[in-house]
C-alpha cells in the first residue's frame, strides 16, 4: 500500500543525493521508502519509479533473491548488518550494503548504505569459477593431489582424497601432515631440489580401513603460496594385482612346460637306457644258458661278451651326455675371436669330412666383432652341427656334397652362425622335433646332440634353430650377442 497515511513520508531531498554511497531505505514490509540518486542511477532507474515498490520486485530475478529478502527480514529484527545483492534492471551491478535499523515513530526502517563492488565481484567470480572448475576436475580424477610445504604440512588437499585413502577431506586436514598418509622418508629432499621432480615412487600405504594400496607418487617442486611440493598419488593396486597374477600365471606356465619337458626327457631316458640294459641282460643270459648247456663255442661267447661290454659303455655314454644336457652352471665366458674359434672347430672335423668326400666351406671374416662366450661350448655346437651334416650327406649319397659354415654380423650386437648342408633335408615334422631330447633320424644316434647344443646356445642368451634350404638340405643357425667391451672393433663393429 504505497503512500499510506500512517507512514512517515521521507523527504525526497534528504540531502543524500550527492554522496558517493548508495542509500536505500526499506520498511518492515520491505517496501522501498527512499533511494538516493546514486542508488537509482546505479540501477539505471529513476528514484520515483522505485519508491513505494516492494524491494523483492526491484531485485533482479536470480538464485540469490530469496536469500536477500530473508536476510533483510533478519536484519530488521536486529540492529542491522551487512548484506549484498545484485542491483539494477539487468542485475549487472553488485552492491555491498551496510544496514542499520532506524525506529522512526511507530515505524522501523532499515537504512542501508551501499558501495558498488561490481568490478571486484566480477574478478572474484572469475576466480571462483576457475576454482570451481579445479574443484570439479580434482574431485573427478582418481588421482589424489596434495600441496605441502617442505615440512610436509598440507597447504592444499584435493577434495577426492577419500577415494584412495578412505579419509575425508576434513580428516586429512586434521591429520595435518602428508607423512601420516604416505609415511616418512618418501622424498629425498636433495634429489627433489636437484631434479625438480621425482616420478613414479612406488609406495605401499594402508587406507583408513587398513586396506593396502600400492601408489605411484610423483613429487614436484612448486611455489604456490606456502606450498613447495606438489604430490600426485595414483592408485595402481589393481594394475599391480593384474601384473602379479600374470607373473604368477607365466611362472606356472614355465613350470608346467619344464615339467612336461622333464616328462619327455625321463620317458626318452627310460627308453634309451633300457635298450642297452635289456641287451646286456639278453647277451649275458645267452652266455649263461650256453655255458650251462655245455655246448658253447668260445668265439660265440666272446662275441656276446664284447656286446655286453659295448652296451655297458653305451649306457654310460647316455648318462654322460645327459649330465651335459642338464648342466646349468654357466661356464667361464671369455672374449672370443670368432674366426679363430671357427677355424679350430673346422680343423677337428676336416679329417672326417675328407673321409666322406665332403667339402667344408668356411666364411668368417676377420672383421667380425668378438663375442663373449664359452669357446669350448660353442665349438662343441659347431662340431655337432657339422658332424650331423656329414651324417646326413652320407645317407644322401649325392654329387658334390658340401657343408657351408658362415658367420656374419646380423645385428648391431649380434653375430649369427649358420651351418648348411646340401643333404636330403628334413620334413617339417622332423624339423619340429629335432631339438627334442632323444629324437633322432640316425640309426646310431642317441638324439641328444641338438638338445645339448640348444642348451649351450641358450646358456649364452642365444637360440638355435633350423630352416630348410632351397637345394634340399638344412641350415642350422644360432645367434650370439657380441662382447659388451669389444676386444677389437672392425669396420662392421662400429655402431
Amino acid at each position: 500500500m504505497a503512500g499510506s497515511e500512517r507512514e512517515a513520508r521521507l523527504p525526497a531531498g534528504l540531502g543524500l543525493d550527492d554522496v558517493a554511497s548508495l542509500v536505500l531505505v526499506v520498511d518492515r514490509e520491505l517496501r522501498i521508502r527512499y533511494v538516493n540518486s546514486t542508488c537509482a542511477a546505479a540501477g539505471g532507474l529513476s528514484g520515483d519509479a522505485l519508491v513505494g515498490n516492494e524491494l523483492r520486485a526491484v531485485l533482479p530475478v536470480d538464485a540469490e533473491r530469496g536469500a536477500v529478502v530473508w536476510r533483510l527480514g533478519e536484519l530488521l529484527k536486529g540492529v542491522g548488518g551487512e548484506w549484498e545483492c545484485h542491483w539494477g534492471t539487468d542485475g549487472a551491478r553488485r552492491v555491498a550494503w551496510s544496514a542499520k535499523t532506524l525506529v522512526l515513530g511507530s515505524e522501523t526502517l532499515l537504512v542501508s548504505a551501499g558501495f558498488d563492488i561490481t568490478e571486484r565481484w566480477d574478478s572474484q567470480r572469475a576466480w571462483r569459477e576457475s576454482e570451481e572448475e579445479h574443484r570439479i576436475v580434482l574431485s573427478n580424477i582418481s588421482d589424489a593431489v596434495f600441496i605441502t610445504d617442505d615440512t610436509g604440512d598440507f597447504t592444499f588437499i584435493c577434495p577426492n582424497v577419500d577415494v584412495i585413502f578412505g579419509y575425508s577431506f576434513a580428516e586429512v586436514r586434521a591429520l595435518g601432515n602428508i607423512a601420516s598418509l604416505l609415511g616418512n622418508a618418501l622424498v629425498d629432499r636433495q634429489q627433489l631440489d636437484q631434479a625438480g621432480e621425482i616420478q613414479n615412487l612406488e609406495q605401499e600405504i594402508r587406507d583408513k580401513d587398513g586396506q593396502v594400496h600400492i601408489l605411484l607418487v610423483n613429487v614436484k617442486r612448486v611455489a604456490i603460496k606456502h606450498g613447495t611440493r606438489l604430490y600426485t598419488c595414483r592408485d595402481v593396486t589393481a594394475r599391480k594385482q593384474v601384473e602379479e597374477s600374470l607373473r604368477e600365471y607365466q611362472s606356472r606356465l614355465a613350470q608346467a612346460s619344464r615339467l612336461s619337458s622333464m616328462g619327455v626327457l625321463t620317458s626318452g631316458l627310460a627308453h634309451e637306457l633300457n635298450q642297452p640294459l635289456a641287451a646286456i641282460s639278453n647277451f649275458s643270459q645267452a652266455c649263461i644258458r650256453r655255458i650251462r648247456g655245455g655246448a658253447c663255442k668260445s668265439e660265440e661267447l666272446l662275441e656276446h661278451l664284447e656286446q655286453v661290454s659295448a652296451q655297458a659303455y653305451r649306457a654310460g655314454d647316455i648318462i654322460q651326455r645327459l649330465r651335459q644336457l642338464v648342466r646349468t652352471h654357466s661356464p667361464h665366458n671369455v672374449v672370443v675371436d670368432v674366426p679363430q674359434m671357427v677355424r679350430e672347430a673346422v680343423q677337428l672335423v676336416e679329417l672326417a669330412a675328407r673321409k666322406h668326400g665332403v667339402a667344408i666351406e668356411v666364411e668368417a671374416g676377420d672383421d667380425l666383432p668378438t663375442i663373449n662366450a664359452d669357446s669350448t661350448g660353442v665349438q662343441q655346437v659347431l662340431l655337432n652341427l657339422v658332424l650331423n651334416a656329414l651324417d646326413a650327406l652320407e645317407q644322401a649319397d649325392r654329387d658334390a656334397p658340401r657343408v657351408a659354415i658362415r658367420v656374419w654380423q646380423s645385428g648391431p650386437k649380434e653375430v649369427e652362425f649358420a651351418v648348411a648342408d646340401n643333404g636330403p633335408g628334413l620334413s617339417a615334422e622332423e624339423l619340429a622335433q629335432v631339438f627334442d631330447p632323444f629324437y633322432t633320424t640316425k640309426s646310431e644316434g642317441m638324439g641328444l646332440g641338438l638338445a645339448i647344443s640348444q642348451s649351450i646356445i641358450e646358456r649364452h642368451g642365444g637360440r638355435l634353430w633350423a630352416t630348410p634350404n632351397d637345394d634340399g638340405g638344412v641350415t642350422f643357425r644360432f645367434a650370439l650377442p657380441t662382447a659388451r667391451i669389444p676386444g677389437r672393433i672392425g669396420p662392421a663393429g662400429e655402431d
Partner: protein
C-alpha cells in the same frame, strides 16, 4: 611249409635285435632279425610258424601299426611286444588287438622265453586247427551239389525216407549219395560228420 618255428625279432635297435637273437638261439630257437616293420612285412611268409617279438617304438612304422597291418592281412602269428618305455594306453591297445603280451624292459629273460614258448605253442595249435579245418573244407568241396543237399538233410536229422521224399528221389538213391558223402569226407560215423561240418561252419545254427 616250414615246420620249424622261428622267432622273428623286429626292433630298430641293433643291440636289442642281436641280443634277443642270441638269447633265443641259446635255448635252441631259430631267430631272424628285422630292423624295421616294413622290412619284416616284405620278408615274412605267413606260412612260417613261430612268433614275433616286436618293439613298440620304432622309426617309420611302429610296432602297433605293424600289428594292425598283420591283422588286416589276416596273418595270425602271435606277437609279443617289448618296450623300453611303454604306457598303459599302448599296452591296452596292443592287448586288445590280440597281442600275446606286452613286456616292459628291463624284463627277466625267463619271462620272455616262457612267453615265446607259449606263443609258439599257441601258433602251432592254431596252425594245427587251421590245417584240420582246411582239410575238411577241401573234402567237403569234393561233394557234388546233390551230395551236399543230402548232407544238409542228414545234418537236420532226417531219415533216408524223409530225405528221399524232400528231394523227390528214391530211398536207394539217397543211400547211395550218403555212402559217397561218408566216403569222401572220410567220416566214420554221422556224429563225426556233424563235428567236421561244425568245424568248418561254426556259426551255423
Amino acid at each position: 611249409m616250414n615246420p620249424e618255428p622261428t622267432i622273428f625279432v623286429v626292433d630298430d635297435d641293433q643291440a636289442a635285435r642281436s641280443s634277443l637273437k642270441a638269447l633265443a638261439e641259446s635255448v635252441g630257437y631259430a631267430a631272424e632279425c628285422f630292423d624295421s616293420a616294413q622290412a619284416f612285412l616284405e620278408a615274412y611268409d605267413a606260412d612260417r610258424p613261430g612268433c614275433v617279438v616286436l618293439d613298440v617304438r620304432m622309426r617309420g612304422m611302429s610296432g602297433l601299426e605293424l600289428q594292425d597291418d598283420l591283422a588286416t592281412r589276416g596273418v595270425g602269428i602271435p606277437i609279443i611286444f617289448v618296450t623300453g618305455h611303454g604306457d598303459i594306453p599302448m599296452a591296452v591297445r596292443a592287448m586288445r588287438c590280440g597281442a600275446m603280451d606286452f613286456i616292459e624292459k628291463p624284463y627277466r629273460d625267463q619271462v620272455l622265453l616262457d612267453r615265446i614258448q607259449q606263443a609258439i605253442e599257441r601258433d602251432a595249435s592254431a596252425r594245427q586247427r587251421e590245417a584240420v579245418r582246411s582239410s575238411i573244407q577241401q573234402r567237403l568241396e569234393t561233394l557234388t551239389p546233390r551230395e551236399s543237399e543230402v548232407l544238409d538233410k542228414v545234418l537236420e536229422g532226417k531219415t533216408n525216407k524223409e530225405i528221399a521224399a524232400d528231394l523227390g528221389i528214391s530211398v536207394r538213391a539217397v543211400e547211395s549219395h550218403r555212402a559217397r558223402v561218408m566216403e569222401r569226407t572220410e567220416a566214420d560215423s554221422v556224429a563225426e560228420l556233424v563235428r567236421m561240418v561244425l568245424t568248418v561252419r561254426p556259426a551255423e545254427g
